[in-house]
C-alpha cells in the first residue's frame, strides 16, 4: 500500500517533528512516570508496579517542601509584579531611545550562568564581604549578615526571574494602543481610571504570560535556596535532587516529580481557564 495515500500530507510532513517530540519530550516524561510506580530504590521498569512511592510521600513531611516551593514562588511573583510593572511601563512609554539601553542592562546578566551570579551575591553579602566589609571599614558598623536567611532566598529569586516577568509585561504594556488611552482621557477618565479600566485589562496578556512564566520557573528554583539560603529552606526540587543522587531512590524522585508536575500543571490550567490567553491575544 502506498504510504503517502494512507496518511495525509499534513501528518506526513509533521512526522519528523512528531518523532522528535516523541523521543525528546514524551519518552523521558513517560520514563519518569513509569519509574514513579516501581518499588523504592530499584532501577528496573521490568517489575510489578505499585503506588508505594506515592503512599510514602503522603505519609512523609514532603508537603513542607511543596509548600515552601509554592509559597516562595508566589511571593516572588507578587514582588516581581510590583517591581516590573513600572519598569515595563517605562520601557514601553517613557524611556524612549534609552529603552534599548535599559533592556540591554536587564538582558546582559542572562549571559552569565545563574550559579556564578548567585555566588557573586554571596561575596557581596557575606560577613566582611563587599557590603558588610565596606560598612565596617568606612562607618565602623557591623550589622548581622543577611546571608543564609529566608529573605535573601526571596531576593535571589526576584533577581534571577526578573527578566522573565519584565519582558512579557513590557510586551503587554506596549500592546495598549495610544488611541484607547487618549479616548479614555477625552471622555473624562481620571489617571487611575485609565490605568484600571484601559491599560491594565489591555496589557493583561503580557502580564499573565509573565506571571505564568516566572511562577513555573520559580516553583522549580533550587540554586537560590542552596547558594544564598545555605539550605535553610529545602524546596521540592532539592528534595527531588536528593532522591536522585544521595538517596539513590529514583522511584521516589520520579514520584515527587510527577506530583510537582501535577500540582503546577493544575494551577497553570486553572489560571488559563480564568484568563483565556488565546482569546485575549486573538482580540488584537
Amino acid at each position: 500500500m502506498n504510504l503517502a495515500k494512507t496518511i495525509g500530507p499534513g501528518t506526513r510532513h509533521a512526522l519528523p517533528i512528531l518523532l522528535f517530540l516523541l523521543v525528546g519530550f514524551a519518552a523521558p516524561l513517560l520514563a519518569v512516570i513509569g519509574f514513579s510506580f516501581i518499588p523504592a530504590r530499584s532501577f528496573s521498569l521490568w517489575q510489578s508496579w505499585s503506588l508505594g512511592n506515592y503512599i510514602e510521600i503522603f505519609n512523609s513531611t514532603s508537603y513542607l517542601s511543596f509548600l515552601w516551593s509554592l509559597g516562595l514562588a508566589a511571593v516572588t511573583v507578587l514582588i516581581l509584579a510590583m517591581i516590573c510593572y513600572p519598569i515595563a511601563y517605562g520601557l514601553a512609554r517613557v524611556f524612549g531611545k534609552y529603552a534599548t539601553l535599559v533592556t540591554l542592562l536587564f538582558t546582559i546578566p542572562l549571559f552569565v550562568s545563574e550559579n556564578v551570579r548567585l555566588y557573586g551575591w554571596v561575596l557581596f553579602f557575606i560577613k566582611n564581604g563587599v557590603l558588610l566589609g565596606t560598612l565596617k571599614a568606612w562607618f565602623g558598623i557591623e550589622p548581622e549578615s543577611w546571608l543564609f536567611t529566608n529573605g535573601i532566598i526571596v531576593f535571589g529569586m526576584v533577581y534571577v526571574y526578573l527578566p522573565f516577568m519584565l519582558f512579557p509585561m513590557t510586551l503587554g504594556v506596549s500592546m495598549v494602543p495610544d488611541q484607547t488611552r487618549d479616548a479614555a482621557f477625552d471622555l473624562g477618565a481620571t489617571r487611575w481610571q485609565v490605568f484600571k479600566e484601559v491599560e491594565l485589562p489591555l496589557s493583561m496578556p503580557g502580564i499573565m504570560i509573565g506571571f505564568l512564566l516566572s511562577f513555573v520557573l520559580a516553583v522549580g528554583a533550587i540554586a537560590e535556596a542552596k547558594v544564598l539560603g545555605g539550605q535553610q529552606i529545602i524546596p521540592i526540587s532539592h528534595d527531588i535532587e536528593i532522591a536522585f543522587t544521595y538517596a539513590q531512590n529514583w522511584p521516589l524522585g520520579a514520584a515527587l516529580s510527577v506530583l510537582l508536575m501535577l500540582v503546577v500543571g493544575t494551577m497553570v490550567l486553572l489560571v488559563l481557564r480564568r484568563f483565556d490567553l488565546d482569546a485575549i491575544l486573538g482580540r488584537r
Binding site: 513531611t61 560577613k127 545555605g230 528534595d239 536528593i242
Partner: protein, 387 residues
C-alpha cells in the same frame, strides 16, 4: 484493551532503555560491542583524577582518548556500575570498603596481577605495606585495587574562634552544646553527615543500629540541622569560615580544608577528636581511596597502564595537588615523591599532624542501615526548613 496495555508498557520500557542508552552514550559514545579499545579509557572517579594536569600527560604519551567523570559520593558511583555501566567504565576510584566488601563480591570489578602491582605498595607509606587490607579481597588472595589519596575526615574549625586543643578535647560534643547554635555549617555530603550525626548522637555509625539509637539519630539530626547556620559545598564552607560567618563545620578534613589552607588561611584546620564513640574509643574517621579495574567485558588495556602511571612520584604529586582539593598520597612514603612537596604544600595538607590524626581515626566503613538513616536525616533536614 489488554493488548493496548501491553504495548504501552513495552513502549515505556523501550523509552527507558533509549533514555539509558542516550545517557550512557553521553559518556562513552554509542560504540559497537567489543570495538577496539586500545586507545580509549573511561574513568569514574572523585575529582582530581579527571583534571587535565593528571590526564593530559597520559593522553600525550599513549595517544588515547581518556574520559573521566567525577562524582562526589561513593554509593552513586557503585550504583552506576550496578545499573549496567560496567561496560562503559574501565576504572573506578572510590573509598576503601567498597572494593572488598561490595564491588568484588558483586563481580563489578576484577582482580589485578598481584606480582605486577604489589611491588608498588612496598614503596608506599608504612600503613600501606602489602598485603594492604583494603586493597585485598576477604580471602587475602586477590589484589583488588591501588591506594593513593587518603586523609582524616571529621570536622574543620577556625582556630581563631575554637582552638585546636578545645576542638580535639570537646570533639563531637561541640554539636551538643546549645551555645554553638548558628555558629557552625554542615557540608553537603550526605553519606558523611550520616556518620557524623551518629558520632554526635554518641554511637558507632558502622554497625546495625537498635530502634533506640535510630530514634536518637532522628532527634540529633533535627537538632544539628536546626542549629546550622547553613548547609553548603566546600567552597561555601571555606568562605564562611574565612569570613567569620561560622566558627566550624562538620564533615570535613584535610580534603575540604586544604584549598583554604593552600590559599594562606592556615587558621582553617581539620581536627580529629581525641576520643569518641567509634571502635576502640577513637574519635575520628579517615578515608583511603582504592582505584580498581571495572569488570568490563571489553576492558581497555590502558586501565592497568593508568594505575601504574599514577604511581610515578611526579604524577602522584600532581594527583595530590590536582585541581579541587589537596590530599596526602600513599606514595609520599617514597622519598622521591615526598621531596617534591614544598613546605607550603605540606602545610596545606596538615602533614605535621597527619600521622597522629590517622591513628586517632577508624577507617571509613559501610553503614549497614545507611538507607534508613539517610531517609531519616533527609526528613530531619526538611523539618528544620525555614530555620
Amino acid at each position: 484493551m489488554n493488548q493496548f496495555k501491553q504495548s504501552r508498557r513495552n513502549f515505556m520500557q523501550n523509552s527507558a532503555l533509549m533514555a539509558a542508552a542516550f545517557a550512557a552514550g553521553g559518556v562513552a559514545g554509542l560504540r559497537p560491542a567489543f570495538a577496539d579499545r586500545s586507545k580509549e579509557l573511561n574513568i569514574l572517579c572523585w575529582e582530581g583524577y579527571n583534571s587535565a594536569q593528571v590526564l593530559d600527560p597520559f593522553r600525550t604519551s599513549t595517544g588515547a582518548t581518556v574520559k573521566a567523570e567525577s562524582l562526589t559520593n561513593d554509593p552513586t558511583m557503585i550504583n552506576r556500575l550496578r545499573a549496567g555501566e560496567t561496560n562503559v567504565w574501565d576504572l573506578i576510584n572510590v573509598n576503601n570498603p567498597w572494593a572488598r566488601k561490595i564491588m568484588f563480591p558483586e563481580k563489578l570489578i576484577m582482580p589485578l596481577d598481584r606480582a605486577k602491582m604489589e611491588p608498588y605498595f612496598t614503596k608506599m607509606g608504612a600503613d600501606f605495606k602489602p598485603p594492604y587490607k583494603w586493597a585485598m579481597d576477604d580471602s587475602g588472595e586477590q589484589l583488588l585495587g591501588m591506594a593513593q589519596r587518603y586523609g582524616p575526615y571529621s570536622f574543620v574549625v577556625n582556630t581563631d574562634k575554637v582552638s585546636r586543643a578545645t576542638a580535639e578535647d570537646q570533639g563531637w560534643d561541640l554539636w551538643n552544646d546549645p551555645a554553638n547554635d548558628k555558629k557552625y555549617g554542615v557540608l553537603e555530603s550526605d553519606d558523611w553527615n550520616v556518620f557524623n550525626i551518629c558520632c554526635i548522637a554518641g554511637f558507632d555509625p558502622f554497625k546495625e543500629h537498635t530502634p533506640e539509637e535510630i530514634a536518637k539519630f532522628g532527634e540529633t539530626a533535627k537538632k544539628v540541622f536546626k542549629g546550622a547556620k547553613m548547609v553548603g559545598d566546600i567552597a561555601t564552607m571555606n568562605q564562611a569560615l574565612v569570613s567569620g560567618e561560622i566558627d566550624f563545620h562538620m564533615t570535613g578534613g584535610t580534603y575540604s580544608a586544604s584549598p583554604a589552607r593552600a590559599d594562606g588561611a592556615l587558621n582553617i584546620r581539620a581536627v580529629t577528636p581525641k576520643k569518641g564513640p567509634l571502635a576502640g574509643g577513637k574519635g575520628g574517621i579517615s578515608w583511603i581511596e582504592i582505584t580498581s579495574v571495572v569488570n568490563n567485558p571489553d576492558i581497555s588495556p590502558l586501565a592497568v597502564q593508568f594505575l601504574e602511571y599514577v604511581q610515578d612520584p611526579k604524577v602522584a604529586h600532581t594527583v595530590a595537588f590536582a585541581e579541587g582539593t589537596f590530599n596526602p598520597v600513599a606514595q609520599m612514603g617514597n622519598p622521591d615523591c615526598f621531596s617534591l612537596f614544598t613546605k607550603e604544600e605540606l602545610d596545606a595538607i596538615q602533614y605535621d599532624s597527619l600521622e597522629e590524626e590517622m591513628a586517632r581515626s577508624v577507617e571509613y566503613d559501610i553503614v549497614p542501615d545507611y538507607d534508613k538513616l539517610l531517609d531519616i536525616m533527609t526528613a530531619a533536614k526538611r523539618d528544620a526548613s525555614g530555620g
